[in-house]
Symmetry: C3
Subunit: 344 residues, 3 copies
């Protein structure tokens, strides 16, 4: 069971209730009840577990779990007496079941008397505003949203419904959709890095755009998203962004992308849908990155990328070419005394 200091266990749930959440078919007694999720190794008769990665088939065959979420192909290897929830997507189903046992919902709502909410801000129904949060005039917070302790919602910002803006996040110049999660320490909407330079130095160019964050986006801790210089910076619906990511002004990111920690995306680059970007990768500015493309961790992307490409290395290239270059250099370096013939 998860530490009760931090997580509130809900349930118990009957097998048929779990099947409905999971979108799974039942093998077993629908009236059996379960009171927690647990890994295969640790689970007992009142626990629900899951098997997604084939690597764990062995643990599955030995598990004491009362119920397990599995693909049909593994059903016959289940230990005797284990109830099954059969689905082609066990990890997705587990996500839903675990969310039912441990709902994210907070303990209540209301505006802390220690929060600072401008009377000209508009606050929806069932909103929770934690101590020390600051909400400026003209800001709007949608129904059921939570504003964390010491978070700052700037002048005119719009936060949709069912959002979580966590502790110490600082938002300005942004419009945020529904069900968006912004983790601790995120900075959104500050000036992009734009200036005109000459021999005397640098003169700031006003950054007159906004940050638009569509529905169901999650933004990791201490990530930074600058507002546009004129056009907006846009994060498409369903995109997941990890911690300490930098997104520069005018960047447009499509839907359902996955952007791992410490990635940096330079100004005006456009990224398609379902793009996956490994940790610490970097993109120069003004690129067009096709939908469905994938980038190994630490890729350094300097050119436009066709949809569906799989790249790695710096400068980034098709992953096989990158691998071959790594192998080639390794081989050459090991070939002690390699003879190099100069023709000129």
């Amino acid at each position: 069971m998860a530490d009760p200091r931090f997580f509130r266990l809900s349930g118990p749930f009957r097998l048929d209730e779990l099947a409905e959440m999971a979108g799974a078919e039942i093998v077993g007694d629908t009236e059996n009840t379960f009171n927690d999720v647990r890994h295969l190794e640790d689970a007992g008769p009142t626990h629900v577990s899951f098997l997604d990665n084939k690597q764990y088939v062995d643990a599955f065959t030995k598990s004491g779990a009362g119920a397990c979420i599995v693909r049909a192909e593994f059903a016959e290897r289940a230990p005797r007496g284990m109830s099954l929830l059969i689905t082609p997507e066990p990890y997705m189903a587990y996500a839903r079941v675990a969310s039912a046992f441990y709902p994210a919902a907070p303990d209540g709502h209301g505006i802390s008397p220690s929060a600072h909410v401008d009377p000209r801000a508009s606050i929806g129904a069932n909103v929770r505003i934690m101590p020390g949060a600051v909400i400026f005039q003209g800001a709007e917070v949608g129904d059921n949203s939570i504003i964390g302790a010491n978070a700052v919602i700037g002048h005119g910002c719009v936060i949709g419904t069912n959002c979580q803006i966590n502790a110490n996040a600082a938002l300005s110049h942004c419009l945020i959709g529904d069900r968006v999660i912004v983790h601790h320490g995120v900075s959104i909407g500050q000036d992009g890095f734009g200036f005109a330079s000459n021999a005397d130095g640098h003169t700031k160019v006003p950054q007159l755009g906004r940050v638009i964050i569509e529905d169901d986006v999650e933004i990791g801790a201490n990530t930074t998203i600058d507002r546009g210089a004129g056009p907006d910076t846009v994060i498409g619906a369903g995109t997941m962004i990890d911690n300490l990511v930098q997104i520069a002004h005018n960047v447009q990111i499509g839907r359902n992308c996955v952007i791992v920690s410490q990635v940096g995306i330079s100004g005006s680059t456009k990224i398609g849908d379902f793009v996956v970007i490994g940790g610490q990768a970097g993109f120069t500015g003004h690129l067009e990155i096709g939908s469905g493309s994938q980038f190994a961790a630490r890729s350094g992307v300097m050119r436009n990328v066709e949809p569906g490409s799989i790249l790695g290395g710096a400068p980034a290239k098709p992953i096989r070419e990158w691998m071959r270059e790594i192998a080639t250099l390794e081989r050459l370096a090991k070939a002690k005394g390699t003879k190099i013939t100069k023709t000129e």
Copy 2:
């Protein structure tokens, strides 16, 4: 027009007023008035636009902008009826004009009753202190400066005049000049990463220096600048620092440098004036980096660098050598079955 929830439009301005701001010569009727800035494609008869990058000459020749800031060489290609503001530095001139239409100035001043200002702090005239800001004893905030919501100004810190310290920034052990902008979530003045190590572990070495930030510096969101170990950490006047940059203890950065996002500069490295550092580059400690040098994104700099050098790669080397290495490896890897003759 920029979103009025976030930006306050000023003006209108007459062509001669704009010319004065821009330092430009006028072609057109000085009494024409203009009420906003707009890109070439979107501009109408009451808008001012600009042409800096030759790539947009075509858009310029077709633009409906009432006025455009351009270099003299393009004047004759202007569409009929367009007023011109002629200057050798159109982007710089645009920066000034756009700043006039959208002045950064806030809506007022005063100390929020929800701010926590120690009575032993010294607050200048026309200072604005937002809700939740904390200013400790002995701190000084200069005239016309703004301290953002939930920002923290530590014991004894000095902030100059006309500064902006934005939401959730945390400052300690620092002296900050005039017209400095510190964006959301910046951390300045914390202990440098210094300790004495032996087989039992690590013992903290007191970090007894400060952070000195000179005039006209801009520091991007969630950037970190450690205070010196004994000497100070110094950021020279006019230097522009992007988001998520790490500046370690005792680093000295010169004037008018440009440091792009996610760069890391290790302890005691000294960087000259007008140095430009691309994103995600890293510098080891105790280096001397000459003025006017430039570094490609993701450079890994491990040696001293002569003034005016242009480097790339990791370890960083002259950019042509780096490019040649990239091309060489590409060629070798593609040469399937390359014959390598071992002489030993």
Copy 3:
């Protein structure tokens, strides 16, 4: 002398008192008193200095310092009249002496009336809670700990004794040992980056673990440490973490490691004891990294690593191999017109 706006000088101390702190043998008059630490070049008769790096022997022989902490081998090169504190570990001894002259202890304790402490939180003796700090219900703060301005201590978090949680840090779902230092803007305990994906998008998987931080850990500014997905994320005792480091869910780091700025460690990777990781290095997930291993800055680690290894490059390899590859490529690229014989 360190800037008195920021540092409180303690002392003076007698030579024998200093020797006891330093664990050093005395050469000189034990009754001599000293009132500050200073570098060799700047030190006068009432100052204590130290010589650790041989590079500074010359400065040592010319120094005006009243006392110097040195290894026995340099004792005879001391200038006439200089008292000596002889120890095999001068830098460690200096760390202790400097800490005595400049104790970190704050000016007092007590809970600021501007802090927001839930009555159901438990606050130890001599705790200092700064203005704007928020401490939620069920949280515990141990004796002598300091909670900085606008820091947030989430529901149920446990902070040990003699800790410093600095300004604008945000903590949730974590258990923190004794003598832990958390710098400005750190985010701890937020959701790990876990979700189940299919063609419709990504579904969040509840993150049900915690962050465990053992005793004597230091965590640099704006660093992020995600809580575990089910297992915990663990930082071992005595480990030093620099600024802007990313530590993902389920990562386990051993004791007394050193992790330099902007390093990223992906989910479920286990790192042994006394591991040293250079700046901007990255680790993929699910790795086992042996104790005592060391990684050059910018290493890209993609495989398990044996204890005691010294690696560099991306993909990381033994440092000599990496160096040889760098040299090989350099050589090949310079060999203009290198003849490459295709055998097929």
